[in-house]
C-alpha cells in the first residue's frame, strides 16, 4: 500500500510532501520537498524512500547512484546508517530505482557523490531516526526529548527501557517527519560507521563470482548480440552478407542498423555517442553471434574522416601554433614585454595522445522490449540520459522505459555515455527477444569516446630573483564545430593563472572526426602534466628547488579568486609541505645516480593533492617507479577510509600507467590499437607502493574518484628529469626518449 500524506499547505513554496509507503509488513519512509521555488533555495533535493525498517528489525537502505568501482553503493548508505543509528552489519543495501524525480540526479561522475550527498543523506538518516523516536515517545507517553537511541533501539532515558526499531516501524506511518533542514545531526566524535573502514558491500559476491555485473545479466528467453561498427567513426554500411551470418548455427537474426553517422558529435553539454551505423548479429549464444559476425564481410561507405591520422594532427597543430591563437581566453598584464625583460626564459611544446578508457568489463547491456515498453539492465554511470537517449532514438516515451542500474566493471567516465544502451534497445526491438549485447574488446577499444589528444606551445619567464613573472600557452585542441570537443577545453583560470602577473592563454580549435569524452579527471589528467612539468622546467631554469618554487608561486593568500573558480592556495601549500616531509624531499640529493624525485600538485574535483614520485631510470631508458607519496586535502572527514585509500592508490597507479604505456593513435581515420596487446596497462610487477596521508582541514568532505590522478603524471616526469636530465614533453614515455 502506498499513500501520500500531504501536510497542510503553509505556503505554496514551503509545502512539504511526505510519502510514506507501508509495504509487506514494513515501512518505507522518505520525504520530498515539493515545488520548484523551494527546491532552488534549498540544498535538499526531493528525497524519498531510502530507508525501510521491517518489523523484524531488518534495515534496508537504498544506494542512490550507480557503482562502477568507486564504492558509492557502500559509502552513500553509510551516511544514512550513521544518522539512523543502526549497526552497519544489520543493514542490507539495495540499488535505488532510476527515478530522478524522487532521488535527484543519479550518476557516477565528477567525484561528486561525496560533496552532493554528505549533508543530504545524513539528514535522510536523521529524519528517519527522529521519526522512530517520536513513535516510541508516543507509545511511552513521554516527550521525544526523554528518548535517545543506541544502534537499532530507541531508549527511554529516565527508565532505561528500550524498544527495537522493528517494533516501532509500523507506528512511524502516523508520524510527521521533522524538517530535514533543522533535524539535529550527530557530532563527528560519536560516529560509529562513518570514518571506520567498511569493506565494499558487494565484496562477498565479488570474491565468490556471483552474478553482479552488467555482463552477468540474464533474462528468460534471452539471446546474445554483437554489433559491428565501421573502423572509421560514423561510416555507413555499404553492404553486408547477412545471409552468410544467418547460415551459422545458432544465429537467429542479422540486420543492418542505419543509425546516425553523426551520433558521435553530440551537442554542447552532451556526452558520448548515440546509435551509430552498423550490423547486428543475434544468436542463441554470444560465441555463435561472433562467428556469424566474422562472416558478414561488411563493406563500409567512404567517409571524409578516413584521411585522418595522428601524424596529420600533430603537423596541423604545429602549423596552427605558428600563428596567433583563434581565441584568446586570458590576457593579464603584458606577457611579451615581461618575457623580454625576464632573466631567464623557457619555450617548450607539450603533447599528449588520445586515450581509451579500457574498462575491464567491455561495454554491454541487456534489453527487453515488451508491449511497447522497454526495460534495460545497464552498467551505466548515467542512467537518466540513457533513458532519454533511448526514448529519442526509438521514438518511445521516457516513462515507458525502465533503466536498472547494475554494477559496472570500471567506469572512468566511459559509462557516462550510453551508446551500448541504445544499441541494445534497438537490437532487442528488431530481434523481438530479450537481448544481451556484449562488445568485443576490439569494439570497446576502437569505439571509445577517447580522452582528447592535445598540443600546448608554452613560453615562460623568471626574473633575477627566481620569481615566475610571465607565462603564455597556445593550446591546439580537438573541436567539433566552434567549441572544443567533449573534454577538450581548458578553463581561463587554469593554474598558474592568477598567481603570475603576466599570463596569456590562447586556443586554436582543430576539427577532427574522432569521438572524445571524459576520462577520469577529464582535462586535468592532461593539463596537470603540461603545466606542472613546465613549472618544474621554470624552477630548474631559475636554479631553484621545484617544491620551494611552487610554494613561493602559491603566494601567501589562503584563497585566490571567487567561487566557482576559487583556488585554495593555503590548502595547496599545506599538501605540498606535507608531501615534502613524508617523502624526505630535502634529502633527495643523496639518491644514487640514475634515481630522482619529482613533485607535482593539482587541484581538481574540489580536492587538493601534492605528490612526489621516486624513480630509477636505467641506461637503456627503462623507468622503474620505486614509490609515490601523496598528501591529500579533501576536508574534515574521510567517510570510508578503506575505499578512500583504495581510490587514491588506484588513481596514482592509473596515472602512471597512462604516462608509461598508453596511447591511441589514428591511421586512415581509425584507432590503430585494439586490445591489451597493443594498448598495455600497468601490471602488478610495475605497481609501486603508494603512501597516502589525508590532511584534516575544516572544509566539507569532497570526493576521491579522480583528484589523485592528475599530479601523479608530472610527479613522474619531473622525477625522470631529476634522474636523467631529460625532459619528457610528450606522452607516453618511451625508453627511446630516455636512453643515456
Amino acid at each position: 500500500m502506498t499513500y501520500h500524506d500531504k501536510s497542510p499547505p503553509e505556503s505554496g513554496a514551503n509545502r512539504r510532501e511526505v510519502l510514506v509507503s507501508v509495504g509487506a509488513g514494513g515501512l518505507t519512509l522518505g520525504f520530498a520537498m515539493a515545488g520548484k521555488a523551494h527546491a532552488q533555495d534549498d540544498a535538499l533535493r526531493p528525497l524519498n524512500a531510502y530507508v525501510t525498517v521491517a518489523p523484524n528489525g531488518q534495515v534496508t537502505i537504498l544506494a542512490k547512484s550507480p557503482d562502477v568501482g568507486q564504492g558509492v553503493k557502500t559509502m552513500l548508505p553509510m551516511l544514512i546508517a550513521e544518522e539512523l543509528d543502526v549497526a552497519w552489519e544489520d543493514v542490507r543495501v539495495e540499488m535505488a530505482p532510476n527515478d530522478p524525480k524522487t532521488y535527484g540526479r543519479q550518476f557516477a561522475g565528477g567525484s561528486m557523490a561525496t560533496p552532493m550527498h554528505w549533508d543530504e543523506l545524513r539528514r535522510v538518516g536523521a529524519v528517519a531516526r527522529a521519526m522512530l523516536i517520536q513513535a516510541a515517545a508516543t507509545a511511552w507517553n513521554c516527550g521525544p526529548g526523554d528518548c535517545t537511541t543506541t544502534p537499532g533501539h530507541v531508549v527511554h532515558k529516565p527508565s532505561g527501557k528500550k524498544r527495537t526499531y522493528g517494533s516501532l516501524a509500523l507506528a512511524c506511518a502516523s508520524v510527521t517527519p521533522p524538517d530535514p533542514k533543522t533535524v539535529p545531526l550527530k557530532d563527528a566524535k560519536d560516529y560509529r560507521i562513518v570514518g571506520k573502514p567498511q569493506p565494499q558491500y558487494d565484496t562477498a559476491k565479488i570474491v565468490t563470482g556471483q552474478p553482479l555485473f552488467g555482463i552477468d545479466q540474464r533474462r528468460p528467453g534471452m539471446l546474445y548480440a554483437t554489433f559491428i561498427k565501421a573502423p572509421v567513426f560514423g561510416a555507413k554500411v555499404a553492404s553486408a552478407d547477412l545471409e552468410a551470418a544467418k547460415a551459422v548455427k545458432g544465429v537467429k537474426a542479422a540486420f543492418i542498423v542505419e543509425g546516425d553517422p553523426n551520433a558521435f558529435t553530440p551537442g554542447p553539454g552532451q556526452i558520448g555517442q548515440g546509435l551509430m551505423p552498423g550490423v547486428a548479429v543475434v544468436a542463441d549464444s554470444w560465441w555463435a553471434a561472433r562467428k556469424g559476425r566474422d562472416r558478414l564481410n561488411v563493406k563500409w561507405a567512404d567517409h571524409p574522416s578516413a584521411a585522418q591520422s595522428s601524424a596529420g594532427f600533430a603537423a596541423k597543430a604545429k602549423e596552427l601554433a605558428a600563428g596567433k591563437g583563434v581565441r584568446q581566453t586570458r590576457n593579464d598584464g603584458d606577457v611579451d614585454a615581461a618575457l623580454k625583460g625576464a632573466a631567464k626564459t623557457v619555450e617548450a611544446a607539450y603533447a599528449y595522445p588520445f586515450l581509451s578508457h579500457a574498462n575491464l568489463e567491455p561495454q554491454n547491456c541487456t534489453a527487453e522490449f515488451k508491449d511497447g515498453k522497454l526495460e534495460v539492465w545497464a552498467p551505466t554511470q548515467n542512467p537518466e540520459p540513457g533513458r532519454q537517449l533511448c526514448a529519442k532514438t526509438l521514438g518511445l516515451k521516457p516513462e515507458d522505459i525502465t533503466v536498472h542500474m547494475v554494477r559496472g566493471g570500471g567506469g572512468f567516465g566511459r559509462r557516462l555515455a550510453n551508446d551500448y544502451m541504445v544499441e541494445a534497445a534497438w537490437i532487442a526491438r528488431e530481434a523481438k527477444a530479450p537481448v544481451k549485447l556484449v562488445w568485443t574488446r576490439e569494439d570497446d577499444m576502437q569505439h571509445d569516446h577517447y580522452r582528447p589528444a592535445g598540443w600546448h606551445f608554452l613560453k615562460g619567464g623568471v626574473d633575477a630573483q627566481g620569481n615566475l613573472i610571465a607565462l603564455s600557452d597556445h593550446f591546439v585542441t580537438p573541436s567539433h564545430g566552434e567549441g572544443p570537443a567533449p573534454s577538450a577545453g581548458m578553463s581561463a583560470a587554469e593554474f598558474p593563472a592568477r598567481f603570475v602577473p603576466n599570463v596569456r592563454y590562447e586556443v586554436s580549435p582543430m576539427p577532427l572526426g574522432v569521438p572524445t569524452g571524459p576520462l577520469r579527471a577529464p582535462g586535468s589528467n592532461a593539463l596537470a602534466f603540461v603545466f606542472q612539468s613546465f613549472i618544474d622546467e621554470l624552477a630548474h631554469a631559475a636554479g631553484q628547488d621545484p617544491l620551494a618554487f611552487q610554494l613561493k608561486l602559491l603566494g601567501d593568500k589562503d584563497v585566490v579568486g571567487e567561487p566557482p573558480a576559487a583556488f585554495g592556495a593555503g590548502r595547496m601549500r599545506g599538501v605540498l609541505k606535507a608531501v615534502g616531509e613524508m617523502s624526505g624531499w630535502a634529502d633527495r640529493g643523496k639518491l644514487p645516480k640514475g634515481e630522482g624525485m619529482g613533485v607535482g600538485c593539482y587541484y581538481s574535483h574540489l580536492g587538493y593533492f601534492a605528490e612526489v614520485a621516486h624513480v630509477a631510470v636505467s641506461p637503456d631508458g627503462a623507468v622503474k617507479v620505486k614509490k609515490v607519496w601523496v598528501a591529500a586535502d579533501v576536508g574534515r572527514q574521510i567517510i570510508n577510509p578503506a575505499g578512500a585509500l583504495n581510490q587514491v592508490q588506484g588513481s596514482v597507479l592509473d596515472g602512471l600507467s597512462e604516462a608509461l604505456h598508453q596511447q591511441i593513435t589514428i591511421a586512415n581515420g581509425a584507432a590503430e590499437q585494439s586490445n591489451f596487446t597493443d594498448y598495455p596497462l600497468m601490471r602488478i610487477s610495475e605497481a609501486c607502493p603508494v603512501e597516502v596521508k589525508f590532511l584534516k582541514t575544516d572544509f566539507n568532505p569532497t570526493g576521491l574518484g579522480e583528484p589523485a590522478l592528475p599530479p601523479a603524471i608530472p610527479a613522474l616526469t619531473n622525477a625522470i628529469f631529476a634522474a636523467t636530465g631529460k625532459r619528457v614533453r610528450s606522452l607516453p614515455i618511451t625508453p627511446d626518449m630516455l636512453k643515456a
Binding site: 565484496t203 562477498a204 565468490t208 563470482g209 555485473f213 560465441w287 567491455p362 601490471r683 605497481a687 607502493p689
Partner: protein, 154 residues
C-alpha cells in the same frame, strides 16, 4: 555436439560447437558467470580457471579439448582450502574496486599459493602478471596474497 564437463566436481553437459571457448560455455551455457571476459586473447587473465589445478585462460580453450580434465572456477573456490583462504584475505583487505578482475586474480593467486605456499615478491609478480586490474588494486592484491600465505604484508 554434447560435451560432458567436470566443473567444480560436478558433471555438467553442454551442447555447443567444439570450437566454443570454455569461457563462453561456462558463462552462457552453464550459467557460471563468475569467470569473466576481458580480452579474448589471453592478455588480461579475467577468464582464469584451473584445469587440473593449473591456472589457464579459458578464453583460449576450445571446449572440445577439455575432455575429462577437472575444471575449477571461482564458484568452486569456497570448497578449495587454499581458495577459501585467498577469498578471506581478499575480503579482509577489501581488495576490490570495481571487482571485475578479481575472480581471475583469486584463481591465479590460489594456484600460486597451492604450488608455492610462501611466495616471494618476485614469485607473486611472475604468477600474477598475466592478470590486469584496470582499477590498479595491485598494492592490495599483493598484500592479500601475503596475508593468505601468513607472511608480513609490506
Amino acid at each position: 555436439m554434447a560435451y560432458t564437463l567436470n566443473v567444480n566436481g560436478k558433471a555438467l553437459s553442454a551442447d555447443v560447437d567444439g570450437d566454443t571457448p570454455l569461457l563462453w560455455v561456462l558463462r552462457d551455457t552453464l550459467n557460471l558467470v563468475g569467470t569473466k571476459y576481458g580480452c579474448g586473447v589471453a592478455a588480461c587473465g579475467a577468464c582464469t580457471v584451473h584445469i587440473d589445478g593449473q591456472p589457464m585462460r579459458s578464453c583460449q580453450i576450445p571446449v572440445e579439448s577439455v575432455g575429462k580434465a577437472k575444471v575449477s572456477t571461482i564458484e568452486g573456490m569456497a570448497a578449495n582450502p587454499v581458495g577459501k583462504k585467498v577469498q578471506a584475505a581478499w575480503t579482509e583487505l577489501d581488495v576490490a574496486q570495481c571487482g571485475y578482475c578479481q575472480a581471475g586474480q583469486i584463481m591465479s593467486a590460489t594456484a600460486l599459493l597451492t604450488k608455492t605456499p610462501k611466495p616471494t615478491d618476485e614469485q607473486i609478480d611472475e604468477a600474477m602478471n598475466g592478470n590486469i586490474c584496470r582499477c590498479a588494486t595491485y598494492v592490495r592484491i599483493r598484500a592479500a596474497i601475503k596475508r593468505a600465505s601468513g607472511q608480513k604484508e609490506a
